[in-house]
């Protein structure tokens, strides 16, 4: 019991140390988000009126963020594969051809979310930044961010929630130089699930934003 507890704490601690490094280049962007990253800086906004405390929402500070993924057997499905090294490209090596290369990070176009949250999980920052820098480098490039929700909760609320997920991704892309006219957002709610199951695994796959380039 104690050992397990200690290990969890360790995981959280490690992530907390790594995160600021990953996030350092986009600290401003992250702070201006509507909701904060779980386990990073769960604070209140609007002078305490609107308290968005991602961690306490489902008791998953750490769990809802990065460490949940490591302790989850479905890990591989939701983590960008070359996230482990946190070398955020400065954009100079990004090419449009990369969009068509299955080994390039740019081929990964789905960002997953926590239940009833629109904040970006830290592990997706590199992926989002890479797409954003590509967009910044090629101003003619246009994309749609399509937000989705799982089946839990009410349908129309989920449309709004899924749109906010897309808006969260766009906001971070904006801090990396992507122009607002390059990015359109849409919330589909729970209307278009990728998987049909009524369980945690299916719900996780359905809570997502898909990046869709106009011509790629």
């Amino acid at each position: 019991m104690k050992t397990a507890m200690r290990m969890t704490m360790k995981t959280v601690k490690t992530k907390r140390i790594i995160l600021p490094i990953i996030l350092s280049t986009l600290a401003l962007g992250a702070c201006s988000q509507t909701q904060n990253e779980p386990g990073v800086n769960a604070s209140s906004k609007d002078g305490g009126k609107t308290t968005v405390n991602a961690g306490s929402k489902n008791g998953t500070v750490g769990k809802g963020g990065a460490s949940n993924v490591t302790s989850n057997s479905t890990k591989g499905n939701y983590l960008p594969s070359n996230n482990a090294n946190s070398n955020v490209s400065d954009g100079s090596d990004l090419t449009l051809a990369g969009l068509k290369d299955p080994n390039n990070l740019l081929s990964q176009r789905v960002i997953y979310f926590d239940y009833n949250q629109s904040s970006i999980r830290p592990e997706y920052m590199v992926l989002i930044n890479t797409h954003a820098k590509l967009a910044a480098k090629f101003p003619q490039l246009k994309m749609r961010l399509e937000g989705h929700a799982d089946e839990r909760g009410s349908r129309e609320y989920n449309v709004a929630l899924s749109e906010q997920r897309a808006v969260s991704v766009r906001r971070i892309m904006g801090t990396q130089g992507a122009r607002s006219q390059q990015i359109r957002t849409i919330g589909y709610g729970e209307e278009i699930p990728v998987v049909q199951g009524h369980n945690k695994k299916s719900w996780q796959k359905n809570r997502r934003v898909e990046i869709k380039y106009d011509n790629y």
Partner: protein
């Protein structure tokens, strides 16, 4: 040939609009939802409905029985308990049946689809007679009869002669999805397709006169709020602004839609005048504000997560500060209001149930459902029945429950998942 015949009929008939409706949608005319009864009140007002000879399947009496049962306020007396009852027009000494039924209904089909109905109280032998004229929908006279019987006995208006709008999704598990907006009778019969799209259709809401639907459609690869006449099919775009155009709810006076729009970057409640298109902002928060529903002509109840989690709030129809209505539980949303009652979704240990509460005062609420994923409750116009969707056998199915929880029925579509039921107002035609 068939076309010509129909055109002649239409020209010769005053009720051409309703006939045209049937004519336009004749391909799906006989489609209906499959009913299964989960429970009926066994302590309701005992009522005996005599057989009414008719050419329609199940007979008029079958429709009246099913309607009264659905209200959760009546218990239908087994026909075998009163053998050899004198037919409509014959002498009836009702007091002889006092121990069996409180009321006896006898009736007669006039041969042209019209109905004569007689309601007799067994306590005092008092008789009330109703003449109900024929309708192009052969089941409606029986629904109208059930409304009359219901009103006479309970002193509240009946809501059986009403309709449901809902969305059905065909091939939900594949990328070949097809969304269809349907209207049916409130008992699931006479399903009529209103519109169809490869992209999602959501949130239908009825105009108070029952002739138009407003809904959200993603048919142009972005969301838009449309108004469509269910008889003519004529359709117009009401809001196609940047961001989401979502969750329309028609005001009781017919003049406005309350909607959730996010063109300024965040979903807020607005009203849109359906004639002029004039937009008025109702809420102003940095949170999600959506799912507006009218509570009378100048009050709107909506869902907001401004307190951190989705809860219901009330705001004046002209804007101003909002007042929180729900405190119990971490998730309360998707309200609908009729006759001073409010139904809504409430989260409970990871499941989502339908609840109902009085808006007249008191903080109590009753749970009406126990599914895992119950959604989009909608009240009959008299506030006595709630339609919602629930997962059954892996498929989203329509459920209708009485406000006292005593009657529950399921309506399954052979086509696929049912979503977004919307109960019509009282029908005027």
């Amino acid at each position: 040939m068939i076309f010509t015949t129909n055109m002649t009929v239409i020209r010769n008939n005053i009720k051409s609009i309703s006939l045209l409706f049937i004519f336009l949608f004749s391909s799906s005319l006989h489609a209906e939802l499959q009913l299964s009864i989960s429970k009926s009140a066994n302590d309701g007002i005992p009522i005996y409905i005599a057989n009414i000879a008719a050419t329609i399947p199940g007979g008029h009496n079958g429709i009246i029985e099913a309607d009264l049962k659905r209200s959760g306020r009546f218990t239908i007396v087994d026909r075998a308990k009163i053998p050899n009852l004198a037919p409509f027009g014959g002498t009836l000494n009702a007091s002889a049946y006092q121990g069996i039924a409180d009321y006896i209904v006898r009736g007669k089909d006039d041969g042209n689809g019209g109905l004569s109905i007689e309601l007799t109280s067994t306590s005092d032998n008092a008789k009330t007679n109703y003449q109900i004229s024929a309708n192009s929908n052969s089941r409606r006279p029986a629904h109208k009869a059930a409304d009359q019987i219901y009103q006479k006995i309970t002193q509240e208006k009946g809501a059986f002669d009403t309709r449901l709008a809902y969305v059905t999704v065909i091939n939900n598990a594949s990328s070949n999805r097809l969304f269809k907006l349907f209207v049916s009778d409130a008992d699931g019969h006479n399903e009529q397709e209103i519109m169809s799209s490869r992209e999602p259709i959501t949130s239908p809401t009825w105009s108070p006169n029952g002739t138009e639907l407003a809904y959200t459609s993603f048919e142009l690869n972005r969301s838009g709020i449309y108004i469509q006449n269910i008889f003519s099919g004529a359709k117009r775009l009401i809001s196609g602004r940047k961001g989401s155009n979502n969750a329309p709810s028609w005001s009781p006076d017919g003049s406005k839609l309350a909607v959730s729009l996010s063109f300024d970057g965040n979903p807020e409640i607005y009203t849109i005048n359906v004639r002029s298109g004039a937009l008025k902002r109702i809420t102003n928060s940095s949170a999600i504000d959506t799912e507006p529903t009218w509570n009378g002509t100048n009050s709107i109840i909506f869902t907001s997560n401004r307190g951190g989690k989705p809860q219901l709030y009330r705001v004046s129809g002209s804007g101003g500060s909002a007042q929180r209505l729900t405190f119990g539980g971490k998730y309360n949303s998707a309200a609908d209001v009729a006759n001073k009652k409010m139904t809504f979704i409430t989260g409970n240990r990871g499941a989502f149930h339908v609840a109902i509460k009085s808006l007249g005062g008191g903080s109590g609420r009753d749970m009406l459902s126990n599914g895992r994923m119950d959604e989009t409750p909608t009240l009959a116009p008299n506030g006595t029945m709630v339609a919602y969707t629930t997962l059954r056998g892996g498929q989203n199915t329509l459920a209708v429950v009485s406000d006292n929880g005593k009657s529950k029925q399921f309506l399954r579509s052979a086509l696929g998942d049912i979503r977004y039921p919307a109960w019509s107002p009282y029908l005027h035609r």
